[in-house]
């Protein structure tokens, strides 16, 4: 007898075995393994490719248990609480999975109540769900935070048996993941012995996710691991454009016709780009060549929700030929019809690329097909490195990070809202969550102190405390308003302020439909009359009325305001080392397009190539200025930070830097002093210039003034509940006299630089917008390995970075210099008129 078959019958009871058979399916090995793990009471991580029946695998043990329970119900009453909780990063995914789950449940006649709970669920149903919970509830991390902070959490979750965490790789490692991990820690308290199941795409380090699934305070340290059989290997290629491959830029205009030909030749194509603006530009360009009037749509996060839903619906019905999209479609509902993924621009990381490739073809036995379209020469190298990584199944390493303190502050307040807590117990509970396993008691106490009275050294707010200790030492909320405020503030997603874009006629300036939303900071750069691309059209900016940007259509074809052209995601460390290895090994260049090959040959001839582990630095004069170009390959963010720090140092050394440009691969600093000469004369020591000690005082001094740091602080302040979120409708009154968090930041860093919220903001800066940790790793790596070459002119490899659009100017106090410049310009303009007048008078 087939032993596998024997297992199967033992694991898969009726009516499940019959249901599988009736559909002509056999349960997959990993589905059975999860049933076995569930019987043993083991929490488990399942790693499976898309199309492998991952979600059903996660739910089968619950369905089997619930079916058995229903049969027994006649002699024992049904437990009143939830049986299984499913948590997904996407609201839409939760709704979709619920639908997919109801079908087998109905077909097998299982008396199981399956419900969803999201921000869209009507209040009446949410209330009923708390009173009379379903068997299976599908929801999001934010809803979990709200539910465990309510008084009836014990009733709701006391009988919880299983928790299914979908797309766990997309949640872990983010602030949303931090919040969810703390929620899990509480759920384990409410329902001791609850089993967790993590569902994940392939990741480089499954152990972190496995630790997520079990409390970090005892045995075992990790959940079990089940790896599903891999699907067919993807068919992956790089588009080798016949046209000239540009030196710089991100639009891939040169490959437009070829991309269009791919769309024509396939049933449904998903065209991924890295930024919203790239999506806008490419969509527009595609329609310009769309002679066959193919249904090509656009999808990105700032389009109006109803518009996005229409695109998704049309996609589901197979009505579209292609969708140009951003990471807004990285995750989500399966669309069977997609048979090709085109990734325009560099993929930036192999894991993201694999996720995107998986969006094509959800049948396991057929290969997914994807084409990479590099937009410039460096991206050719990056795409090549990514192809090799995907073929080898290699993933980006996870960035090591600790649970965020601002998220912890939110959670601590939530726990006080649920019921009074004892600090020792809560500390033990919090440190059982993977991201907070290393949290020190001192940091925890600081967070509790922050939640209570702001945590300031100046004890000014004792009487305004939000939580207070009772006589028994347990902390409770000071009044019901605090709990009310908490509920409004739950969540870790802090949208940058968005403004609606409304299409109006240039004359009336009223009415018209809403096209979507743009970030406030983008609008801040516009002056009336400027043109820019949005929602696939070139628009003319008219004015801002209330919280809306009024725009009109224009016949202009070239937008005047260049939208931010760079990639949103920095190049991953893993791909960066792949690119460096490729560059350092001319034997492998044969796989590169001819133009790119020639480019590298020329670099070898004129200068030299960056090595695998060294740092190449070129210095050369050009156009009356002197340049220093370094090739760290550490991503734009780290390079920008490096640029700020190096120019500060050069300025102090009297070498008069004027500014710098950065891209994902290189950094170019320009100025008036001859740097080649300064190095030759020993006035500039490159080893000292690149010494890691720049990350000390220089960094602190610069960070304090940095706009990025202020934005980071604002996010922390909102998440931690220091300031309230801005709500629609409430904003109008607030706008009259707006008080910005920048003012709070300035006061706090002067008077209490060690405050817990500033620590949280600095920790974010280290891994987030400024990528300081990566910079510091690089500085250590290249220490003593700087290869300098003085050139007479610009090198071929330096050209791309010299063509970067966004240049940063150096200024001790940047805004002062800008204001002075603007004032001088106006004076020049004004006096020029006078001069003309006087000339005529003469």
């Amino acid at each position: 007898m087939d032993p596998h078959r024997d297992d199967e019958t033992a694991l898969l009871p009726e009516p499940f075995a019959g249901w599988f058979a009736s559909r002509g399916w056999a349960p997959r090995a990993h589905q059975l393994e999860l049933i076995a793990k569930a019987r043993l009471g083991r929490s488990t991580l399942l790693i499976a490719p898309t199309g492998a029946g991952k979600t059903l695998a996660g739910f089968l043990p619950s369905l089997i248990e619930l079916a058995a329970r229903a049969q027994r119900r006649s002699n024992s009453p049904r437990p009143p609480g939830l049986h299984t909780l499913y948590i997904s990063p996407l609201k839409a995914l939760a709704v979709d999975v619920a639908r997919n789950l109801e079908r087998p449940a109905a077909e097998m006649g299982l008396p199981i109540r399956i419900e969803t709970r999201t921000g869209d669920t009507p209040a009446s149903r949410r209330q009923r769900q708390r009173r009379d919970p379903p068997d299976i509830l599908l929801t999001t991390p934010e809803q979990i935070a709200l539910l465990i902070a309510s008084g009836d959490a014990a009733h709701l979750f006391g009988d919880l048996r299983r928790i299914v965490l979908d797309e766990l790789h997309a949640l872990a490692g983010s602030k949303r993941g931090d919040l969810l991990s703390l929620g899990l820690a509480r759920l384990r308290q409410l329902a001791p012995g609850v089993q967790t199941v993590g569902l994940s795409a392939t990741v480089a380090d499954p152990d972190t996710l496995r630790r997520w699934l079990v409390p970090q305070t005892g045995e075992p340290e990790m959940g079990d691991l089940v790896i599903a059989e891999a699907g067919a290997a993807p068919e992956l290629s790089m588009l080798e454009s016949v046209a000239h491959v540009p030196w710089a830029g991100h639009t891939a205009r040169h490959s437009l016709k070829e991309i269009y030909a791919l769309i024509v030749a396939n049933t449904t194509t998903l065209v991924f780009v890295n930024t919203r603006m790239q999506a806008e530009l490419l969509f527009q360009e595609l329609w310009r060549v769309n002679d066959a009037n193919l249904p090509i749509a656009l999808h990105h996060g700032s389009l109006d929700v109803s518009q996005r839903r229409r695109v998704e619906a049309a996609m589901g019905e197979g009505k579209l030929k292609a969708v140009v999209c951003t990471s807004s479609l990285d995750l989500g509902i399966d669309w069977g019809a997609v048979d090709l993924v085109v990734n325009v621009g560099a993929p930036k990381g192999s894991s993201r690329l694999m996720q995107r490739i998986g969006r094509a073809n959800h049948r396991l036995d057929e290969p997914s097909r994807a084409v990479l379209v590099p937009a410039n020469r460096f991206e050719v190298l990056e795409c090549r490195a990514a192809l090799e990584a995907v073929r080898a199944g290699a993933q980006d390493g996870a960035v090591e990070r600790r649970g965020a303190l601002d998220v912890l502050a939110q959670h601590v307040l939530g726990m006080a809202c649920a019921e009074p807590f004892a600090v020792d117990d809560l500390y033990a509970e919090v440190t059982s969550a993977e991201p907070y396993a290393g949290l020190t008691r001192a940091d925890f106490d600081d967070v509790v102190d922050f939640v209570a009275t702001g945590g300031y050294a100046l004890r000014a707010y004792e009487r305004f405390a939000r939580i207070r200790p009772r006589k028994d030492g347990r902390w409770r909320v000071a009044n019901p308003q605090v709990a009310q405020q908490y509920r409004l503030n739950v969540g870790t997603i802090v949208e940058s302020s968005m403004l609606k874009v409304r299409l109006t006629s240039a004359k009336s300036r009223f009415g018209g439909r809403v096209l979507g939303e743009v970030e406030e900071y983008f609008v801040e750069m516009l002056s009336p009359g400027d043109t820019f691309v949005f929602a696939g059209e070139v628009l003319h900016y008219l004015a801002i009325v209330d919280d809306e940007v009024r725009v009109a259509r224009t016949s202009a074809t070239d937008p005047k305001v260049p939208s931010y052209a760079g990639g949103k995601f920095p190049l991953s460390t893993f791909l960066a080392s792949g690119v460096r290895a490729l560059l350092a090994d001319p034997a492998r260049w044969a796989s590169l397009p001819g133009q790119v090959h020639d480019w590298l040959d020329l670099q070898k001839l004129r200068s030299r190539l960056p090595g695998r582990d060294d740092l190449l630095i070129e210095t050369f004069p050009r156009g009356g200025r002197h340049y220093l170009v370094a090739y760290p390959f550490e991503g734009r963010l780290a390079h920008q930070t490096l640029g700020m720090l190096l120019t500060r140092r050069l300025d102090r050394a009297g070498l008069n830097p004027l500014g710098f440009m950065a891209n994902d691969y290189a950094l170019a600093i320009y100025g008036v002093s001859d740097l080649s000469l300064a190095i030759a004369q020993g006035r500039l020591d490159l080893d000292a210039l690149f010494d890691a000690d720049m990350l000390g005082d220089d960094l602190e001094a610069w960070l304090d003034e940095s706009a990025l740091m202020k934005r980071t602080f604002r996010q922390c302040a909102v998440i931690a509940g220091l300031i309230e979120r801005r709500f629609p409708g409430k904003e109008k009154n607030a706008r009259q006299v707006t008080m910005s968090t920048d003012l709070v930041y300035d006061v706090l860093r002067r008077h209490e630089p060690g405050h817990v919220l500033l620590r949280a903001a600095r920790a974010d800066a280290a891994t987030g917008l400024l990528d300081i940790r990566r910079l510091s790793d690089m500085l250590v790596r290249i220490s003593g390995r700087i290869e300098h070459i003085a050139l007479r002119r610009v090198s071929p490899l330096a050209v791309p970075v010299m063509l970067e659009i966004g240049r940063e100017r150096v200024a001790g106090n940047a805004s002062e210099a800008l204001l002075a410049e603007a004032e001088e310009e106006l004076i020049r303009e004004a006096t020029r008129d006078v001069d003309d007048g006087s000339c005529r008078a003469l």
Binding site: G454, V737, T738, A814, L819
Partner: protein, 242 residues
């Protein structure tokens, strides 16, 4: 403030020179920290200190850093140190609310007393602090007229030559090289003037808002403060907010 900034401020003040800044025929000097100096009267004018705004917000549940009053007073101390005036006029909303003066901490009270030692202090009534504040010294007035100049909290509608007021917290917004800059400013047409707010937590209202534009019959200028020097821009060069 760094020594470079101190030098720059001194230079800027010298640059305004003997002519100073004329308002209704009277000579003033604009201090880049956001104050107005009246040389003939040896008088410093500041507006909208909004002391104890932090604790007022804390009482409503937003536990902002409780250091705003000392930050504001530190700026005021620098201004007083620079000019050594005979008197200081605070143009109303000196405190964020009626109970603000009661909440002022010991250290802040000391700082205030030190900077006012040997000078006259005049508290003009504001809408946030309409009544005299006990225990702070100085005199409390609704408004003050000295020669052609009238000092009051809220600017009066219509032609009001010689009026110096606060209340509106003017800020100017400029876009330079793709960067948006927003800064507190004096708004003036040479006849009347609206002072920038000095309070560390005081927000701002764009000079292009009708509430400010409407005060001036024609063109006016924004003199940007809060940095190393004053920058002057015509009002139409400043961008509206949203």
């Amino acid at each position: 403030m760094t020594s470079t900034t101190v030098r720059a401020v001194r230079y800027d003040i010298e640059r305004q020179g003997e002519g100073g800044f004329p308002l209704a025929g009277t000579r003033f000097v604009l201090d880049p920290a956001g104050a107005l100096y009246w040389p003939a009267e040896r008088l410093i004018i500041v507006a909208d200190l909004h002391l104890e705004k932090g604790s007022a917000m804390a009482a409503r549940g937003a536990l902002l850093p409780p250091y705003d009053s000392r930050a504001t007073l530190a700026v005021l101390a620098q201004i007083v140190d620079r000019w050594r005036p005979r008197a200081v006029v605070s143009l109303g909303d000196s405190f964020h609310d009626r109970r603000g003066a009661e909440r002022l901490g010991g250290e802040e009270r000391g700082a205030l007393a030190r900077l006012l030692r040997g000078r006259e202090m005049i508290w003009v009534a504001g809408n946030h602090d309409p009544d005299p504040m006990p225990g702070l010294g100085g005199s409390h007035v609704n408004e003050l007229t000295i020669g052609p100049i009238t000092l009051r909290h809220e600017p009066q509608a219509g032609d009001s030559e010689g009026e110096i007021a606060g209340h509106l917290h003017p800020v100017a917004r400029l876009v330079v090289r793709g960067q948006s800059l927003r800064r507190r400013c004096f708004a003036t047409d040479g006849k009347r003037l609206v002072m920038p707010a000095l309070g560390a937590y005081a927000g701002g209202l764009n000079v292009r808002d009708p509430a400010i534009e409407g005060l001036f019959a024609g063109a006016f200028a924004a003199h940007l403060a809060g940095g190393a020097r004053i920058y002057r821009f015509a009002h139409h060069a400043c961008l509206p907010d949203h």
